[in-house]
Symmetry: C2
Subunit: 367 residues, 2 copies
């Protein structure tokens, strides 16, 4: 039986990448040292980090006036670092409240004495749609924060909010490299690696060079200008995670780049959404135009039945379909490394479950 | 030819650990998922992090009133977090200036508005000895910071400075698990993993529970109480690094625990120090009573000759002996995973180099 891992993150990685890591784990590039054992100051690692940056720049067409930085600490550390580095003029940012992670970002910004205006919220829809701006954006904000993909709620931006001259800062953690965005539409993009890029423990920051360098006296591990000056090696970076991410980036290029990958993701997601929309048992409650390509939450409407769906799926090798504890139900995460065959297997299973359930219902009615 | 990796970090790891990681990389515990792909909220990972904590507690005999926390960001992030969490009463700490990393710690503490008193410095000896307290410790300090092992300078504390009721906070990054300390002598211990514990990207914090929870409104990724409450999983932890560290901890237990490991490290270090002290060519400038078991810096006194030593060593499979750029010369790092045979090979090589050099010198003199 094939197994498929629908985890929201840490998540499925490309098989050829795992095989390459396994093959060269004892001796990286013939060095007789594991990649885990090599110095971040070595030429071997220099090549690794330079390649990773170059491949990322290539894949995302990152303009030269943007820095690519390698951090640790996940998106959450950037919820602190972004306002410290970028909100230096007004100490005042805007934020579109699209759910859990947007709300966390607001909390962390406030903890470092940044005023946060909620410019729109999707609370009234229980975050089953994206929020919209309730008014034109005040041009005296340092930036506007959005979460491009909402892992828990299953929404994602395709069209970006219009913010005039105010830079857009995007937490792209869960659809980074999963769909095409135009980097120059953003002042800054950041993303934890553990969805589409590699193992947990690495965070990418892409930031326009004119937006940084204004902050004084920041802790070094939160200082974008210092990281830019030191090529992300002020202290020891997460060598293994950068190496693994580098292999994933090479794999993405072999797939044909992000346009091809996005198209594949769209095919995968549509297969599942189309099934859910015609189903009489399963429902995806997310507004069709706002749906994520990466994370598909759905429910039967009955928690006990959801639990049966999940338990049965696990028996069929369809792993980690349990929805986030905040929303319950099911969630299928369809990151880049999830093959179409996995989504097809999921749809087949759900269709069979529904058919069996309908029979059971009829039996129950006819009794 | 056997190769030996004398890198100061990231550094050599135990071979059986690398072999185990390699063997189970495609399917962790029969899950059909790589350890890199499993959710941090899964039972599988629960076992990993619980075992790692339990084994660390066991190895170091960590009392119950100490938390064990898993962070990212290296020692450098803790240079910021420690004063934010622990220097809440007086915003005033003491520090013993034992070299580069102590000085970095002082810088970062000052960046978060903590007054730092240098209670002693080894600058006059060019840090070839440990600093000593110049006066009894002011009991109105929040804590006193020391660096138990100075990776660059090659010094280490065996006897701790006497600080009365003021807690001692130790950056133990480069001799964590390499020699035995009594945890209850410290208010807090922290250590980056990439010396004796595993791959880079993980930092351990061991902190006495009564010292935390006083700070208000900290960024979440710097909040010890939050990490304690959330079992280090407020956000996604570095799953792979924790897993690898867990395997190293099990390996350490198999070696017989830290007393045995320290004794082995002492044998290894003495082999090299004894050679250096009798050598007419090589010198270790560090004061004998203050010498590190982990990092052994030495010189010929002539940079061009040092370069020859290093180049020849590389040809003999003795890797990464170049000293830190701040001090030059050579440095041999002898972490737990370095076998005695590696140190013997180094001593043999250095002895042969010296003999050849002496012949050359004589030839030169007789010409």
């Amino acid at each position: 039986m094939s197994t498929y891992n629908f985890s929201a993150g840490p998540a499925v990685m490309p098989k050829p990448v795992i095989e390459q890591i396994q093959a060269e784990l004892p001796s990286f590039q013939g060095s007789e040292m594991s990649i885990m054992e090599i110095s971040h100051r070595s030429q071997l690692f220099d090549q690794v980090i330079n390649d990773a940056e170059a491949d990322l720049r290539d894949l995302m067409a990152i303009p030269d006036n943007y820095h690519v930085l390698f951090f640790q600490g996940g998106g959450t550390l950037q919820f602190t670092a972004a306002p410290l580095n970028l909100a230096t003029k007004h100490h005042h940012i805007g934020l579109l409240d699209s759910g859990h992670w947007a709300s966390r970002a607001a909390d962390e910004a406030r903890r470092v004495n940044t005023q946060v205006d909620i410019l729109g919220t999707a609370a009234a829809t229980h975050f089953t749609a994206l929020p919209t701006l309730t008014a034109p954006v005040d041009q005296n904000l340092d930036y506007v924060h959005i979460t491009t993909n909402n892992t828990i709620e299953g929404t994602a931006y395709t069209t970006l909010p219009v913010t005039g001259n105010v830079p857009l800062v995007a937490d792209m953690s869960s659809n980074f490299l999963g769909q095409v965005y135009n980097v120059s539409d953003f002042g800054m993009i950041f993303a934890g690696a553990q969805k589409n890029l590699g193992p947990a423990g690495l965070t990418i920051v892409i930031v326009r060079d004119d937006l940084i360098g204004q902050a004084q006296n920041l802790p070094s591990m939160l200082d974008y200008q210092l990281f830019a000056d030191k090529r992300s090696m002020f202290n020891t970076p997460p060598v293994f995670a950068i190496y693994a991410a580098g292999l994933v980036l090479k794999w993405l290029k072999q797939q044909g780049g992000l346009k091809v990958v996005e198209q594949h993701n769209r095919t995968k997601a549509n297969l599942l959404y189309d099934f859910l929309d015609q189903s009489k048992l399963f429902t995806c409650q997310v507004k069709p135009t706002d749906r994520s390509l990466m994370n598909v939450p759905f429910v039967t409407g009955t928690p006990a039945l959801d639990a049966q769906v999940i338990a049965g799926a696990t028996q069929h090798g369809l792993l980690n379909l349990k929805g986030h504890r905040l929303v319950g139900g099911m969630r299928a995460s369809l990151y880049n490394a999830m093959p179409l065959a996995g989504v097809q297997a999921l749809v087949d299973y759900l269709a069979a479950f529904e058919a069996n359930h309908a029979k059971g219902e009829l039996t129950h009615v006819s009794n």
